[in-house]
Amino acid sequence: MVPHEIVVAGASVAGVGVADELRRLGYEGRLILLNAEPHFPYDRPPLSKGLLTGTTPPERAALRKPGHYADRDIDLRTGVAATRLAPGPELALSTGEVLRPGAVVIATGARARTLAWTADGDLGAPPSVPTLRGLDDALRLRERLTAGARLAVIGGGFIGGEVAASARTLGAEVTLIEAAPVPLAGVLGEEPARALLRPHRDAGIRVLCGVPVTGVDRRTSRVVLANGHTVPADLVVAGLGAVPETGWLTGSGLDLDDGVRCDATGATALPGVYAAGDVAAWRDPRSGRHVRHEHWTRAREQAKAVAARILGTEPPAFGPAYFWSDQHGRRIQALGDTAGADTVRLVHGAFDAESWVALYGHAGRLTGAAGYNAAAALMRHRTAVTAGDPFPGACAPLAS
């Protein structure tokens, strides 16, 4: 039965995607879209790139044009958060209202992980070190990022790398600090990951690897490292990944083990309750495991699938997992599963060159592909990655 009213909690890529797709599929009931932030729904990829450097004005980061929601009779409630969920489903809002819709879609996303320092003396404790997740974070950071400002970026992952690159473009003196010997080695393999450090260094970013941060001494304005060294900084930003925004769901009866646990169609254990996007851990039909994706395209796919599931239409098939990162005017892209590969093979360019593509295999099957400045060459492998084509082991010669 089609619900009389649907509430989507969260208005980022997944939430807006669900609302749009419901209308596109012909849903005519009441549709409420909650946006906890006091902003128009916006897109996150520009936050660490164009919005930080100033090439993308905030209004260009809007997910949809003004009027989009009213045109589709989507009741967008800005600055209103879902605060509690109970079976029924029953949903309490920050306004004090309690709704009893036919279906609830949880799309509250993730928040930036903060450092869990054991404060040594006067070291700053979380959340005093800023992170970059929302529009306000980006605008605040942009205001303070001036030429010559000393910025320390803690965490050499994709967000850390993008922030470092953007800040350097603005003329800041940037130090990128990473606890692992090579950032992103676990995701892309050691050699490709190592190659990604060169553009940082070429741009004049100081890169410190294999050195965990133990704290920030705000008195002397220095980042303190485990090896006893310190990094002077006017500004510190931490990019340490994200954790699902599930705090408000405590007591709902939902399984919240690293995200809202869902079946392979986005349905949770509570009737009428679904989840999509960064907050959701969908069951992967291939492996049977529950996996939480933090990728923009996956959020979009899940949004379409959840809308179809609620309305009882055929959900679209998913492509392979996909993400990208833009740094120093170059683009890193990856398809499928590149982490945990037993074989990495270069098939285009060279890791120390301006362009490359590498294929990733596990147990004789192709599982993923990654590319650097090679969008078209990379995407030619998408079909084979989706199919999991046979992939010879490590002893196979390198293709040219």
Partner: protein, 64 residues
């Protein structure tokens, strides 16, 4: 059918290449360009699949 790229929306992900490499290419500015403006038959099917696969909805299919 006519294939149009919204250059404002295209971000050069090249997802279109993965499903329709005979219909699209990526130019030097990292923007998708239709190789065939009016694809027919199998290529028309591929163009529709590319529009569906595009992460930014930058491919517009104008049916005749």
């Amino acid at each position: 059918m006519r294939v149009v790229i919204d250059e404002e929306k295209c971000c050069g992900y090249a997802a279109c290449i993965s499903v329709a490499e005979r219909v699209f290419e990526i130019d030097a500015d990292n923007i998708a360009v239709p190789l065939v403006e009016r694809p027919e038959g199998e290529l028309a099917e591929q163009a529709r699949a590319a529009a569906e696969a595009c992460p930014t909805d930058a491919i517009l299919i104008e049916e005749d």
